[in-house]
């Protein structure tokens, strides 16, 4: 898991700099936001020419699943006060997956904290390395980094497409986002695509839930 996290962090750092953030901005974003999918989505919107508000909204929406993890973890961790603030920050796909795979209450807590804090340190270190490397590369297009961003998003969504409903929503969202690109300001077509997911998720009972936990940050 740690090797995967490191390599994934390097890609984020390099793509973030290619999107136009400085090295320092990339690192600060990563330290505060600390959720891989949200970070990729945030810089993706910036790279597409979207403004700050659209990037914030997209990153936040991709991070909504973390609230569900938090609700599952809170009773298992039983922490109060400032520890709860720390626990919230390291509540991500991996820490929740490792913790909920344990049976003993103590193993649940240890699994959560070791995974969460370990990945926090590792992820942000490699994001910094990736940002420095991306900064040294120069023209992002000559290195194909714009295409690397598309490949990265495909990699992030791939495992979530195993479910047929999720697949249909994914294809529908892609088509809607492209159709709206010429008519809406950059950043908004991606957000509009999320409306499809809300409609299908809320009003189509019986569809299965894609399992987020096997997917990675």
């Amino acid at each position: 898991m740690s090797v995967a996290t490191g390599l994934y962090g390097i890609s984020f750092g390099a793509l973030s700099v290619a999107a136009g953030l400085s090295v320092l901005q990339t690192v600060v974003l990563s330290l505060i936001m600390f959720s891989g999918g949200s970070q990729f989505a945030y810089v993706g919107v910036i790279a597409a020419g979207g403004g700050g508000p659209a990037a914030v909204a997209t990153g936040a929406l991709v991070g909504v699943r973390n609230a569900l993890y938090g609700a599952r973890m809170a009773p298992l961790l039983g922490v109060r006060g400032w520890r709860r603030l720390l626990a919230a920050q390291v509540t991500i796909d991996e820490s929740t997956a490792v913790a909920t795979a344990q049976e003993e209450p103590r193993a649940v807590r240890e699994g959560f904290w070791w995974t969460g804090v370990g990945i926090y340190v590792l992820w942000n270190s490699f994001v910094t390395l990736g940002a420095l490397a991306g900064n040294a590369l120069g023209d992002p297009r000559a290195w194909g980094l714009d295409a690397a961003a598309a490949a990265a998003f495909l990699g992030l969504v791939w495992a979530r497409l195993a479910d047929p409903v999720a697949r249909a929503v994914g294809v529908g969202s892609a088509v809607v986002a492209l159709a709206l690109t010429p008519v809406l300001p950059a950043g908004l077509p991606v957000l509009a695509a999320a409306a499809i997911a809300v409609v299908v998720g809320w009003w189509r009972p019986g569809s299965t839930v894609p399992d987020d936990e096997e997917v990675g940050a």
């Binding site: 929406l61 919230a88 999320a194 997911a197």
Partner: protein, 108 residues
């Protein structure tokens, strides 16, 4: 405000928004978020946003749509994912295909 100050503002706001969502999960009563409909919608929203970003990152060029070296890169990335290649291999292959196609002058 200068563009740089606005960018910083958007970075801190984005980071805090994602953190606040994590914290809300820890603070709300568990049953509020335990409803299957909430979990299903949250999972599908993630899929929709990531899929839309794949499309935009591949075909959008400002306000226009275009086919360029990013498309063959995406096709190769999809093949690599179908063959269960690790994430970084997929990303590096995507970059290499686009850079190669451009260096050869086959596509923009």
């Amino acid at each position: 405000m200068s563009p740089d100050a606005l960018m910083w503002l958007a970075i801190v706001a984005g980071g805090l928004a994602v953190y606040a969502i994590k914290l809300v999960g820890h603070l709300l009563p568990e049953h509020w978020l335990a409803e299957p409909r909430v979990a299903r919608t949250a999972a599908l929203v993630t899929v929709a946003l990531l899929a839309a970003l794949v499309a935009i990152q591949t075909f959008a060029s400002g306000q226009g749509l275009t086919v360029d070296a990013r498309l063959p890169a995406l096709v190769v990335a999809a093949i690599a994912l179908a063959l269960r290649a690790p994430f970084l291999v997929v990303v590096v292959l995507g970059a290499a295909v686009a850079a190669g196609v451009r260096a050869l002058g086959w596509m923009a």
